[in-house]
């Protein structure tokens, strides 16, 4: 009888698999090498499909459907991996195990799940690559500048030529006696002239949005704004290009203030080329709600809505992985992987009954805590405080395993809970600290745009990041030391 061969598995990996089986059974049983190989194979195939599938970078991205579909594949892949993983367990068979082996095993599970978790990132990455290859940032900025310039020249007669001026009175605070609250918008009649009254905070933000400032008196300010000539938005392309995107002021200076009659036929021809380049049936609903929506007649005459929307589609694809969004993507992947890995690790070191009792305990504690918070008019701090209390309780119960004579399900549940939550302890404590010390920026009295506000926000984000790192380090230290000993002791205890 011949041995069954795994499909598409090269000889070298087959040999490696056998070598692991005979030398490192714990590593072999995690099947990480096979997950990595088949995972890469799947991702390569998926990338190939994404490359060849009919898709235009100018169109609204359908990657969400792909991500949903691949996520289902992920779930199937994890289930399949679990089927193989659960076949062999050195720990439950009382084989030779080491303390460091717990950490290694956890990391192997983590890598396996992370590999599978990367699947849904393939379609968006390929989309970004394709969009990047089709349109450079310089090209997009150039086309946007060119379109806006042409429209300014061709529609000169119909465009507003004067700036919009607003006069404000700036005071320290706007106080509404009736409602006893800060009210940012307030009108005052000063010497029979009506001014909008702004407090310093609102003034700062209004000033940032204006193009020119004139101070008439100590408190009366005129803020001027150039009419919008950005009929087509560069949708963030300018921040990735060395070419400057022309602002409304630039366009005003170039084509409105110093207007010269253009060669309309030539400009129309150039605009037609750009319109054709970005011509793709846009979603009319979304197009009409563009951020930089131009007047209807301009959109109809020069097709700026279509160009703008489709450039926006291209930049959505191209700049998906900008650093601003990266921490969010990274955290989604990291925490999903970490939570699944913790569940798998706990399942592998616990009895089936105790594992499911642990899940039930978690759900019941959540319900109980929510009820307590609801009835006691508690807040997030209360919830976080209860979580810390539970963690301390589980830690205490877990440690009783060293004096237990029998394998007690309650101790098993406590060990599972301790293992599941200890990595999050520093994060919970940090969050509780900021909650109880006025997490909200308004409690600090800082105004928007205040450098102290920015520094405070950065400090909060930094602290949370450090707490996350500390949690992982703490878990990595406790896993081969305390957690290893807890599970080793508990699982091997005789039954009642």
């Amino acid at each position: 009888m011949m041995k069954q061969k795994r499909p598409l598995l090269p000889k070298i990996l087959e040999d490696y698999d056998q070598q692991l089986l005979k030398n490192n059974p714990e590593t072999w049983s995690a099947r990480t090498h096979l997950v990595a190989y088949y995972g890469l194979l799947f991702m390569a195939a998926l990338a190939g499909i994404c490359f060849i599938r009919p898709d235009d970078p100018r169109s609204e991205s359908t990657v969400g459907y792909w991500v949903a579909f691949v996520s289902v594949v992920c779930i199937i892949a994890i289930v399949l991996w679990m089927i193989y993983l659960l076949r062999f367990n050195v720990f439950k068979r009382y084989g030779n195990i080491t303390a460091a082996g717990r950490l290694k095993t956890f990391l192997l599970y983590f890598i396996s799940i992370l590999t599978i978790g990367l699947f849904p990132y393939v379609p968006p990455v390929i989309e970004s690559v394709l969009a990047g290859a089709s349109y450079t940032s310089d090209e997009l900025v150039n086309d946007v500048n060119k379109t806006n310039s042409i429209v300014c020249q061709l529609a000169y007669d119909s465009l507003p030529h004067d700036w919009i001026n607003d006069t404000f009175m700036v005071v320290n605070k706007v106080y509404d006696k009736e409602y006893n609250r800060i009210e940012p918008e307030y009108w005052i009649d000063a010497k029979s002239k009506s001014y909008k009254v702004l407090d310093t905070s609102e003034y700062r933000s209004q000033r940032l949005a204006s193009d020119s400032v004139r101070q008439l008196t100590d408190s009366i300010i005129v803020l001027s704004k150039c009419p919008s000539y950005e009929f087509v938005s560069n949708a963030g392309a300018a921040s990735h290009s060395n070419i400057k995107a022309l602002s409304s002021i630039d366009l005003f200076d170039l084509y409105i203030r110093n207007y010269r009659k253009p060669d309309e036929a030539k400009l129309s021809a150039e605009l037609a080329v750009i319109a054709k380049k970005y011509d793709y049936p846009a979603d009319k609903y979304y197009a009409s709600y563009g951020i930089y929506s131009a007047p209807d007649w301009i959109e109809k005459t020069f097709k700026t809505a279509t160009i703008s929307e489709n450039i926006s589609n291209i930049t959505d694809r191209k700049y998906r992985w900008d650093l601003d969004d990266f921490p969010a993507y990274f955290r989604i992947l990291l925490y999903t992987t970490l939570i699944i890995t913790l569940l798998v690790f706990i399942f592998r070191h616990s009895t089936v009954k105790t594992f499911f009792l642990t899940i039930l305990t978690g759900v019941l504690l959540l319900i109980l805590s929510s009820l307590i918070i609801a009835f006691s008019q508690g807040n997030v701090s209360g919830m976080l405080g209860m979580m810390i209390f539970y963690l301390l309780l589980f830690t205490f119960i877990s440690l009783t395993v060293f004096s237990n004579k029998n394998r007690n399900p309650v101790t098993g549940i406590a060990i599972n809970m301790f293992t599941a939550f200890i990595a999050f302890a520093p994060l919970i404590i940090t969050t509780l600290y900021f909650e109880s010390n006025g997490w909200s920026d308004s409690h600090k009295g800082y105004e928007y745009g205040d450098p102290r506000y920015i520094a405070y926000r950065e400090m909060v984000h930094r602290s949370i990041f450090y707490a996350e790192i500390l949690g992982l380090v703490l878990f990595a230290i406790l896993l081969p030391t305390l957690i290893h000993r807890l599970y080793r002791r508990w699982y091997a205890l005789p039954e009642e």
Partner: protein
């Protein structure tokens, strides 16, 4: 070694090839010489292949020739120094009562050494499995102590690594059977080339090679027991505990397994203690160094110790003759005849068994089956 080589030669000479192969494999393992063991495994494989073709004529010449070569190698090898038996487990007055039932295991004491085979017999529900599970560390004790001599300050994990327990209902294996064997050997520290060698040895030793690439669902329950034993033996436990290992085996397989267990217990490569429970009293008694009879949670009888106190002789016979005929032939003095519907059990304080059976035959009483159960636990059933 010479004695064992002579024994193998005898088996070959009389055509007991299967037994010769098993004993040869044991002997080669005991030499500790990898090359000799590899040769023996290869020799065994050739035999199994030929046996599969069912051609005894083809087997004999080549088989004997290869055996001669192997024996020559063995004679030139250095014999491993035999290990003197030493205490493995000391069980002192252990007892167990289940909180959710009325059953209690009365205090039992026991000592098991390496190379010992201890049988535990008794009717269903009388505490055999409870005793075995207590010994394997699976059940907590109410009273008493179990001392594992090789583990000075053991935690429960070490105990369970040290003691292997094969339950009556063996949990299902997943994946290819051979992979499971490699895995078990590797997790006990048998790695690399040694892992391959020991798995091959165990497959040949227990005649499982033909099934190694199958899965659990494709083998019979008897083979499942044998694979489980192979798996556990590869983990090199010091004490092997088997709960009803003969339950799923045919009569020949039962005999083979029991003798194999006895040989494996007395192996010089890895001597160990074996405790097994069974309903097959006579088969167990043949191979066990001592047998414990458990009845209603109490150790009622122990061969080798308590039977010396017995003063009556006991004979079990199967005969078409009726009770009156038997009594009239054997006489009524101090004779007790009991009939269970199939067999007669005849006990006497004065007449030895050979005297009773001679009398029966001399009086032309047809005896289709008889067994001396004077020293057997059977008399207490």
């Amino acid at each position: 070694m010479q004695h064992r080589i002579a024994e193998i030669k005898g088996f070959i000479a009389h055509g007991d090839f299967s037994l010769a192969v098993r004993r040869m494999l044991d002997l080669c393992l005991d030499t500790g010489d990898e090359s000799i063991l590899r040769s023996a495994i290869s020799w065994s494989r050739n035999y199994r292949e030929a046996e599969k073709l069912n051609n005894a004529g083809l087997i004999a010449p080549q088989f004997e020739m290869d055996a001669t070569d192997l024996i020559a190698k063995l004679e030139n090898s250095i014999e491993r120094t035999p290990v003197q038996p030493f205490e493995l487990v000391n069980v002192n007055q252990i007892s167990k009562t289940y909180s959710k039932s009325n059953f209690s295991l009365a205090p039992i004491s026991l000592e098991i050494k390496t190379s010992d085979v201890v049988g535990v017999v008794g009717e269903n529900g009388n505490g055999k499995t409870t005793l075995l599970r207590c010994l394997s560390g699976q059940l907590s004790l109410d009273n008493g102590t179990i001392t594992y001599s090789q583990l000075p300050d053991p935690d429960h994990y070490s105990i369970k690594h040290h003691v292997a327990f094969i339950p009556q209902r063996i949990p299902k294996w997943y994946g290819m059977l051979k992979d499971n064997l490699h895995f078990s050997a590797a997790m006990a520290g048998v790695t690399g080339r040694q892992n391959d060698l020991m798995v091959d040895f165990m497959l040949e030793r227990l005649n499982l090679s033909h099934y190694a690439h199958l899965t659990w669902n494709r083998i019979s329950s008897g083979y499942r027991t044998r694979f489980e034993i192979a798996r556990v033996l590869l983990q090199k436990p010091s004490l092997l505990i088997l709960d009803e290992p003969l339950a799923n085996l045919d009569i020949n397989a039962q005999q083979t397994m029991l003798t194999d267990l006895r040989y494996l217990a007395k192996s010089q490569y890895h001597p160990m203690g074996i405790i097994l429970s069974s309903q097959q009293l006579h088969e167990v008694e043949k191979v066990a160094d001592s047998v414990l009879l458990i009845k209603q949670g109490k150790c009622l009888f122990r061969t080798g110790e308590m039977d010396e106190k017995e003063i009556s002789f006991a004979l079990e016979i199967e005969t078409p003759a009726d009770r009156d005929s038997l009594v009239s032939v054997l006489g009524t003095n101090d004779l007790h005849v009991q009939f269970n519907g199939g067999f007669y059990t005849i006990t006497s304080t004065t007449r030895p068994v050979h005297s009773m059976i001679t009398t029966l035959l001399n009086n032309e009483i047809k005896v289709t089956y008889f067994r001396d159960i004077t020293h057997s636990t059977k008399r207490y059933f």
